[in-house]
Symmetry: C2
C-alpha cells in the first residue's frame, strides 16, 4: 500500500501536457541529442528530394518531413524535382538515370518488388527500389539509421526481404472484442466504417510499413460470415484503400459454412457445384470492392469451426475449392494446419502431421498451409512443429503468436524474438544438416515461390497499442524477422529500444539485457524443463496444472504433465506416444535419449522420475524447485535493473513498467507456488528450505477464479 | 468515394509526431498567442506560491506548473512558503492571515467545503477556500480564465457550487463493456487493478476536478454483485485512493440480490434480519477498504433487476434497509426512480410517479431518489419528469444522460447543454410560479441538505475519451451545470471551445453557433413535434418506428407514436392516459389544450389528425415533412460552417469532425426517409415535391440490421 501511494504521488507530480503515452511506437522522431552527430546528419541531409507523384510518394514526403523535423529540429522543404544541389535523392529507379545507374539491371531485378538500395558517400545519398513501396521501405530503413544514431556518410545497403508475405493476423471479432487480446478492444471500428477513417488506421499502416509488414488478415480465424456481406465489404474496402499506399494487402478469414449462412444453401460441401459457384460469386464480389484483395485465411475443422471434414472431404478439398475461386484474381488461400479432434485418441502433438502430410502435393498452387511454430499451441517453449520439413511439395507459412496468450498476457514483460529465433534456427534435417525451419518457410529448401510468416497481432485500442509498454517490441520483432530472419534478437532489441526510448548507451545496454533474458525467465517461472499447457482454463491466465475435468481430454493440463507418484512428463518417445517419430532421426537426437536430452525439453518428451538426476546434480524435483525459484529471483533482477533507469526514461513509461514488474513478480510467485504445491502432492518431497516457501495453500490457488479475465 | 480518397490523402499528409488526439480534453494549456495579453499575464503571475503540503497541494502545484509552462511558455518554480514578493498566493484560508483576511468568518463559512474565492488587483492575486480541494477548484477556475483569455487583474470571485453531489454514473461492466457506451471500452482496467494504476485514472480525475465533479459511481446500474467481493473491493480501493486527492468520492452500484448471490442466503427480503445483517457486514467491509466510500446507487425492480418488490416490499423498504447499513459510515443511498413494469397496463409515463409519490416522506434521511430528466427515457426532447416537485419530503437527484444513447450515439455532433438547461429551467409550479426543476434538485424549494446531479458518462477508452471529438463538451457541460445551473449554454460552449480548440474569435463565434443549434437540429431529423422512442430495437441506433413485435408493449415504438389512419401522437391528456394530470395545473397549461399547446411537445401529449392545422399554416403531415427536411438541411448548414474553420483547427480534429458530419448527414437522411415513408403508410399523403424524396423504399429501411452496433 505504501508503495502504491508513492507511485500515485509520482504519477500526480509528473503529469505533463504531452506525456509519453507510447502511441508513437518506434516512430517518435525525437531530436538527436548528440550535437556532433546532428551536425554530420545536417550536412548529409541538407537538400532532400523525393521524386514521383503517387499516393505512396506523398506518404514518403510526409513521413520524411515529420521525421526530419523531429530528429533534426529543423523544417525541411522537400522538392519533387531534382537539382544538382540535392544531397539526398529518393525515388524509384526508373525516375531518373541518377538512381537507375546505381545498380545493374540484374541487380535491380534481384530487388524484386520490395527490395531497396541505399548508397551514400559524404554529401550525397540515394535511396531507390523498383516500386514506390520499396522506396518507402528504404526511407524507413534510412530513418532507422538516424533514429539509432548510426553513421550515414558511407552506406552501401542492398536489402531484399527473405519472405514475400510478412503478415499480421488479427483475431478481432466484429463486436470489437479480440480473442486473446490484452490491449483493449479491436482497433477496427466497424460501426463507423466506411465513413469514418480513424487516424489509428493510418498510424497502424505507417508502423507496419516501417518494419516491412505487407499483409493483414483483419478478422478472427474463428470467423463470422457477416464480414463477407456487402455491407461489411464496403467497410473492408475503406480499410484496404487506407492501407494500399503503404503496400499493405488485406486478407479476410472465411467461415467455411458461409454458403449455408449467407447463401442459404443446404451444404458447404466443397465438391458441391452450388457451393463452388457461391464462392466464385462471392470472391468476384470481393474483388469488385478490393481489386488487390489478398485472399482468405481459413481455420477449418478445428476447435468447433466448420470445415470440409464435415462432408467427409479433406483439407485439400476445402482449400482447393476456395483457391480455385481466388486464382484468376491472384488471390491465395492460407489454410491453417492447427487441427486436432476430440474423437482422436492420438497425442494431440501428432494430429496435424497425421492429417496434413498425406495431403502434401495435393494443394492448388495458390494455397499455403499455415503452421504454428509448435505442435501444441504457442507455448513458452516448444520444439519446432514436425510439419516443417515434412511437406516439401507445399509452401508452409509460419504462424507465430505475438499476442502473449501463454507468455504473460497483459502484465509480463517478455521479449519474444528469442522464441521466434529459436524456432527459425531449428534444424529439421529434412534434406540434410542445416535444413532450418527458416529455409523451409522461405521456400529455398523446396523451391517454393510463395512464402511468408505471420504473427497473431498484439494490437488493440489501448493508447500504447499493445497494453504493456514493452510488448510493442514483439510487434516490431515479428516484422523485422519476417524481413530478415538472420537478424539477431540483440540487434532487434537494440534498434527498438533506441527508437522507442533512448539512445543512451547505458540505458540500451542494461535494458537490452532484461529483454534478451526475459523469455527464458518467463519459461523458468511458468513452464520449466519442458512443462507445457498447465495454464488456467479458458482465459489461460495463471497456473492451473490440477485441472482434469474439461470435456476434451487434450484440454486438460493433466493430459500434458502426466504427474504421478513415479514422476512427471509426457513420454512422446518410441515407448510412449511416438510423436518424436514425426521428426527426422537427426533432429530427434537432441531429445530422444533421456540421458543426453536437452533438459529444456525433458518433460516434453519424457516421463522422468522425481529422483531422476539432472545435469546439475540435483534430483528432478529439486531442479523443478530450483528453476521455479530462479524464475522468481530473475524477475527481482529485472526490477533492480529497471529501477536503475529511472533517470533515463520518461516518467510515465518508467512508472508504468515499474508497476507492471511488481505485478509480474506477484504472478511469478503465484506460478511457482501453485505449481510446486500441486506437483508436491505427487513427488511427496519437501521444497528445499533454501527456497522461499509458498505463503498460501494449494486449495487457495485452486479456488482462484477470473471470470472477467481479458482475451477470453 | 472521391471525397474519401481526398480525406485519406489529407490524413496522410498531416501526420505529425504530436498530433491533436483529443486526449488532453480541455486541459491543453497551449501557449497564449495574444502577446500583449501574455505580457499582462506574466506580470500578474510573476511569483506564485502554493501553501500547504497535502497530496491535493502537490496536485495543485503540478497542475499549475504544467499549465503555466504551457500557457506562458516559461518554467515556473513554485514556492511553498510565502514571501513579500509573491504575486499569486494560493492556499487554504487557514494557511496564512493574508488569505483568511480576504473574507469575514461568515463569508468563509458560506463557502462550505467546496467554494472558493479569487481576488485580484494589479500585481497581486489570491486564491483560497476552506479545504485543499476548494483551493484546487479555485485554481482550475483561475486557469480557465487564462485559457479563455479573460482579464485577470481585477477579480472578485466568490464561487460556491449550487449542488453538493456533482456526479458521473458509469454504466461500465466488469468485462469492460459499457452499456450505451460509444467511446470504446471501460477505462477501468479491472484485471490489472490494483497493481497497475493507469495514467488514465489520474487524467480522468484531473478533468473531473477541473469542472467540479466530486463523485463517481464506477459500475453499471444493471449491477453485478462481484464488485462487492473482497477481490474487487481491493481494486475499487486503488481507484478511490487515486481519486481522493482530487476530491472525488467513489460509489458502487449494489445488486439487490447480492445477499443471495454472494452471501448464500435464501432471500434478499429487506425486512429479513439475516439480509440486513449481511448488508451491515458488507458495508463495514467496504469501509475497511475505503473509509470515505460514498455509498450505493441502486436500480431495483426495473428492466429485470431484482428489488424489494420481489418480496412484496416497497422501494422505501429496500432503500431504507441499505441506508441504515450505510448511515453510521456517513454513506448514502441513491435509489433510482426509473421503474416500470411489463404487467402494468398504465402508460409508462405514469408508472414511476405512481410508485414513488406515495413513498414521499418514508425514506431514511440518507436516501436520495434519482430521477431521470423525463418520464420516458432520455429522449431528444422530453417534458420534465412529473416527479420533480411531487416529492417535497424527499431529496431528488437529477439524472441526465451524457452518453448519447438516443441523441446520435458515436456519430452525431449534438451539444446537450441546451437539453439540460431546458429541463433545469422548467417550472414545476409545485410551490408557486418559479418552482423550477433546478430549485427542486438543489433542495432550496423544500429545504433538503442532500442535493445533487448526475450524468451517465460518455467516457471510454478511445484516445479522445468520448468518441466524437465534440462529445467531450457534454461531459464538460454536465460538470459546469452541476456547479452552477445558471450558466448559459452559450457560456459553457464558449469556454469549452476556447480551451479545447482555439481562442480565435471567428472560430469560437461560428462553432458555438453550430453547438448551440445542434440539439434542436437533431430533434428535427429524429423526433420532431414531440415524437419519441421510435428508434431501433436493442441498440437504439437509427429509426425503426414500425417495430411492434417486442415482448413488452412499452418497448415498441408503435406504443409511443400511435400513428393510425386518423393521425399520430400519444393522447396523454384527460381524454387519454391522463399522464398530464401528474403535473401541476399551471405546468399543464403549456401542453393541455391542443389549440394552444407548445408544438414542440404536440405529439407527446396529443393524438392529432394528419390534417391538423399547425401554427405555420401547414397541415400536421406537411409540418412533419417540413421539420424532418429542415433537420437534414441544418446538418448541411453545420457542414458548411465547419468547413470554414479548416484553417482554424488542427488537421486531425478538423478531418475527424468533417468525416463524422458526412456520416451525420447520411443518418439524418436515413431518419427522415425511414420515418416519413413509414408514417406515410398512415397519412396516405405525398411528401411535398419541394422536399428531397426518399431514394430507398420503406422495405429497405426495415431490412437494415446492426448486429454489432456499439453500446448494446
Amino acid at each position: 500500500m505504501k508503495r502504491l501511494n508513492v507511485l500515485l504521488l509520482l504519477l500526480i507530480a509528473c503529469t505533463f501536457v504531452q506525456a509519453e503515452t507510447g502511441y508513437e511506437l518506434w516512430l517518435r522522431y525525437t531530436k538527436i541529442s548528440n550535437t556532433s552527430l546532428l551536425q554530420q546528419y545536417k550536412q548529409q541531409l541538407a537538400s532532400p528530394v523525393v521524386l514521383g507523384s503517387s499516393p505512396t510518394t506523398s506518404i514518403i514526403r510526409a513521413e520524411l518531413s515529420t521525421a526530419l523535423k523531429g530528429l533534426m529540429g529543423t523544417n525541411y522543404r522537400l522538392a519533387s524535382s531534382i537539382s544538382s544541389s540535392n544531397t539526398l535523392i529518393i525515388g524509384k529507379a526508373d525516375a531518373t538515370n541518377i538512381l537507375s545507374s546505381l545498380a545493374t539491371k540484374d541487380e535491380l531485378k534481384k530487388l524484386g518488388e520490395d527490395g531497396f538500395i541505399i548508397k551514400a558517400k559524404p554529401g550525397k545519398t540515394f535511396i531507390t527500389g523498383n516500386t514506390d513501396v520499396a522506396v518507402l521501405y528504404g526511407v524507413f530503413h534510412y530513418l532507422r539509421l538516424l533514429q539509432t544514431n548510426q553513421p550515414i556518410t558511407n552506406l552501401n545497403i542492398v536489402s531484399v526481404p527473405k519472405l514475400k508475405l510478412r503478415m499480421l493476423n488479427h483475431w478481432d471479432n466484429l463486436d470489437r472484442s479480440v480473442e486473446r487480446g490484452y490491449a483493449g478492444e479491436s482497433i477496427w471500428d466497424w460501426h463507423r466504417l466506411p465513413g469514418y477513417i480513424d487516424q489509428r488506421y493510418i498510424d497502424y499502416a505507417r508502423a507496419n510499413a516501417s518494419i516491412g509488414i505487407n499483409a493483414v488478415a483483419l478478422t478472427n480465424v474463428n470467423a463470422n460470415a457477416t464480414i463477407l456481406t456487402a455491407n461489411y465489404l464496403e467497410k473492408v474496402k475503406a480499410l484496404a484503400d487506407a492501407f494500399r499506399p503503404y503496400g499493405i494487402k488485406v486478407f479476410l478469414t472465411a467461415r467455411f459454412s458461409a454458403p449455408i449462412e449467407l447463401g442459404k444453401l443446404k451444404t458447404a460441401d466443397p465438391l458441391d457445384n452450388a457451393v463452388q459457384q457461391w464462392w466464385n460469386e462471392k470472391v468476384k464480389e470481393i474483388y469488385s470492392f478490393i481489386p488487390d484483395f489478398g485472399g482468405f485465411v481459413v481455420k477449418a475443422n478445428s476447435e468447433g469451426q466448420p470445415g470440409p471434414q464435415d462432408y467427409k472431404r479433406t483439407h485439400a478439398d476445402g482449400a482447393n475449392m476456395m483457391a480455385k475461386a481466388l486464382a484468376s484474381h491472384k488471390g491465395i488461400i492460407i489454410w491453417r494446419a492447427f487441427v486436432y479432434a476430440a474423437e482422436n485418441p492420438v497425442d494431440r502433438h501428432k494430429q496435424a502431421y497425421d492429417d496434413f502430410v498425406p495431403l502434401d502435393g495435393k494443394f492448388e498452387p495458390n494455397v499455403m498451409v499455415q503452421v504454428k511454430n509448435g505442435a501444441i499451441d504457442f507455448m513458452p517453449r516448444e520444439p519446432f512443429h514436425p510439419l516443417f520439413g515434412a511437406m516439401p511439395k507445399t509452401p508452409l507459412m509460419m504462424e507465430f503468436q505475438v499476442t502473449q496468450e501463454y507468455t504473460g498476457q497483459a502484465t509480463n514483460w517478455v521479449f519474444l524474438a528469442p522464441l521466434f529465433k529459436e524456432v527459425l534456427d531449428s534444424d529439421t534435417y529434412s534434406k540434410s544438416k542445416n535444413s532450418t525451419v527458416a529455409k523451409v518457410i522461405d521456400g529455398s529448401l523446396d523451391n517454393h515461390s510463395l512464402n511468408g510468416m505471420t504473427g497473431v497481432a498484439n494490437i488493440g485500442s489501448d493508447i500504447n497499442w499493445c497494453g504493456h509498454p514493452m510488448a510493442q517490441a514483439n510487434w516490431y520483432a515479428l516484422g523485422r524477422l519476417a524481413w530478415d530472419y538472420n537478424l539477431s534478437s540483440d540487434t532487434i532489441a537494440d534498434e527498438w529500444l533506441r527508437m522507442t526510448f533512448s539512445n543512451d548507451a547505458s540505458f540500451v545496454q542494461s535494458t537490452k539485457q532484461i529483454m534478451l533474458n526475459s523469455r527464458e525467465i518467463m519459461v523458468d517461472y511458468m513452464n520449466p524443463l519442458g512443462l507445457h499447457h498447465i495454464m488456467g482454463t479458458g482465459h489461460h491466465y495463471g497456473p492451473a496444472p490440477w485441472v482434469s475435468n474439461l470435456n476434451r481430454p487434450e484440454w486438460n493440463p493433466v493430459y500434458y504433465h502426466k504427474a504421478d507418484s513415479v514422476g512427471i512428463g509426457f513420454n512422446r518417445t518410441s515407448t510412449g506416444s511416438k510423436a518424436i517419430e514425426q521428426y527426422q532421426p537427426d533432429a530427434r537426437k537432441q531429445w530422444e535419449n533421456i540421458a543426453t536430452a536437452d533438459e529444456k525439453y525433458l518433460l516434453w518428451f519424457h516421463h522422468a522420475s522425481w529422483n531422476y538426476k539432472m545435469k546439475s546434480g540435483r534430483s528432478l524435483w529439486n531442479e523443478l524447485c530450483h528453476q521455479y525459484n530462479a524464475g522468481v529471483d530473475s524477475v527481482k533482477w529485472m526490477q533492480r535493473e529497471w529501477q536503475k533507469q529511472a533517470t533515463k526514461v520518461d516518467a510515465e513509461r518508467f512508472k508504468a513498467v515499474s508497476m507492471l514488474l511488481n505485478v509480474q513478480l506477484e504472478e511469478a510467485k503465484w506460478w511457482r507456488n501453485a505449481c510446486l504445491l500441486y506437483f508436491q502432492t505427487f513427488s511427496k518431497q519437501p521444497i528445499p528450505s533454501n527456497y522461499e516457501q509458498p505463503d498460501k495453500t494449494l486449495d487457495y490457488y485452486k479456488s482462484l477464479r477470473f471470470p472477467f479475465a481479458p482475451g477470453n
